[in-house]
């Protein structure tokens, strides 16, 4: 980890490990969602909600499951690396903290009026901070509830945390819904301010070390 933490002037907003992990996560997450809703369709939790077949990854149950249980490894190991990186380099602390309640309320109001300032890409406003923290927590919930569904005997204590097997399925479904909700907002805002999208490809503006 030493080379990553060593002070280096002229670092970019999104160092290369962040960019790689971001896009690997994006791909794995989309595979998990499109195969997961196929698995869901075989035993709907909300009786009236089914997902259209053209949206699903895989043509029937066995294929949905094959995709889901393949992409999970990518999602989990990439996610663990990301958490380690964010914690060890201090990126989480610098980028996502602190959050002030008053500022958050004001930012949400501005965001809903499409007046949220975004001149400086290198500083996240409190809405961004909340969304990013929220989606990280949702992804962690997905892994935990996913293990509770996959291994309800080997990790029966984990399944019990959600009440029972169906409780774990419900949590896994709601976590997915939350991540999809984030995805819509995230992608819409990235497209509204294309510089942010470019930054996640090229690295973005050079910023002082203390703000990367």
């Amino acid at each position: 980890m030493e080379p990553m933490t060593a002070p280096r002037p002229g670092r970019r907003l999104h160092p290369w490990p962040i960019r790689i992990m971001h896009w690997v996560n994006a791909a794995a997450m989309i595979v998990m969602i499109l195969s997961g809703i196929g698995i869901y369709n075989d035993e709907a939790i909300l009786g009236w909600v089914f997902f259209p077949h053209w949206l699903l990854l895989g043509s029937w149950a066995a294929e949905h499951l094959l995709w889901h249980f393949a992409a999970m490894w990518v999602l989990v190991f990439n996610g663990l690396l990301y958490l380690l990186y964010g914690l060890l380099t201090g990126r989480f602390r610098r980028k996502l903290l602190p959050i002030s309640g008053r500022e958050a309320v004001a930012d949400v109001r501005d965001a809903l009026r499409f007046k949220l300032a975004h001149e400086d890409l290198t500083v996240y406003n409190s809405v961004q901070k909340l969304l990013y923290i929220g989606v990280i927590l949702a992804a962690i919930l997905q892994v935990v509830s996913g293990i509770a569904i996959w291994k309800p005997v080997q990790f029966s204590g984990l399944t019990a945390l959600f009440g029972d097997f169906q409780g774990a399925r419900l949590a896994h479904f709601l976590g997915m819904a939350g991540i999809v909700g984030f995805l819509f907002v995230h992608v819409a805002l990235a497209l509204l301010v294309p510089r942010t999208l470019a930054a996640m490809v090229t690295g973005g503006p050079v910023v002082p070390e203390e703000r990367t």
């Binding site: 791909a27 989309i30 595979v31 499109l34 698995i39 869901y40 369709n41 075989d42 035993e43 939790i45 089914f50 259209p52 077949h53 053209w54 990854l57 895989g58 043509s59 029937w60 149950a61 066995a62 294929e63 499951l65 094959l66 995709w67 249980f69 393949a70 490894w73 291994k151 309800p152 005997v153 080997q154 029966s156 019990a160 097997f165 169906q166 399925r169």
Partner: protein, 262 residues
């Protein structure tokens, strides 16, 4: 690549019996590979693989199956042979249990207990067949456990029968073998790993809620293990084989994960 439009993109309110869909899904898959093509397209868009030729889909399919075999090994490592599944009070037992097979309940062909025999094969010392009366005379254990289907539904069931471990020891099976395979009266077949076969909550079940298992649920003999998904519990068992050669299974050969441990 164009898909015929269905009446609704969503499932209709009075959906056809899911078992019919399941039964024909593999056939559909073999006839037309559009699902795979679509899958490869989606992945291609994501991973910039591009291309959607059947050859690509087949290699993706092969990769997914290879990862599934890797998952078999990971699950075997995760499996703790001494860890017991949660058990439940009798008041939570669903009566009758939920039916599931690769066909509808109306197509169940009841097994005649008077002529039924359990055949034994493979690495077993005493391979003479067993009658219902002989099986029923074996020591019996009762477990009230959760049945979890790969589709996502579950129920709590009360099963009794001889522990598979006790039966395998009784007939002199080679317990160092890797697999225990089952064949069934309805041409279903399946197999489990030896560690799961020897688990204390793995039974050759003859009774449900204290009475002989009813026809749709596997009379006279079925597997009921607390450590596997539902489809790993063959019903109407007619033969048991102990082997080191991977036996596969009805659903496993169609792409479902083989280990499927809970």
């Amino acid at each position: 690549m164009t898909r015929p439009l269905s009446k609704s993109r969503f499932r209709p309110g009075d959906a056809p019996d899911a078992t019919i869909l399941r039964e024909h899904a593999p056939l559909l898959r073999d006839i037309e590979r559009r699902g795979l093509l679509r899958g490869s397209l989606s992945l291609g868009a994501l991973a910039m693989l591009g291309g959607c030729s059947p050859k690509d889909s087949e290699s993706i399919q092969a990769t997914l199956r290879a990862i599934s075999r890797f998952n078999d090994r990971m699950q075997a490592l995760l499996f703790d042979p001494t860890r017991l599944a949660p058990t439940y009070p009798e008041s939570m037992v669903l009566k009758p249990p939920r039916f599931n097979a690769f066909y509808g309940v109306e197509d169940v062909r009841p097994v005649d207990g008077a002529t039924w025999k359990l055949e034994l094969a493979g690495r077993i010392a005493e391979r003479q067949p067993w009658s219902v009366a002989q099986i029923m005379a074996l020591p019996e254990q009762e477990i009230i456990i959760r049945h979890i289907c790969v589709e996502g539904w579950d129920y709590i069931g009360q099963w009794s029968g001889v522990p598979l471990r006790l039966f395998l020891e009784r007939v002199g099976a080679d317990l160092s073998c890797r697999y225990v395979a089952f064949r069934c009266a309805d041409d279903y077949w399946g197999s489990i790993d030896m560690a799961s076969a020897l688990h204390p909550q793995t039974l050759l079940a003859t009774k449900y809620a204290g009475e002989a298992i009813a026809d749709p649920f596997g009379y006279p003999l079925r597997l009921r293990t607390a450590v596997k998904l539902g489809f790993k519990n063959p019903k109407w068992i007619t033969s048991i084989e102990v082997t080191n050669d991977y036996p596969g299974g009805y659903w496993e050969d169609r792409g479902f994960n083989w280990f499927s441990g809970l």
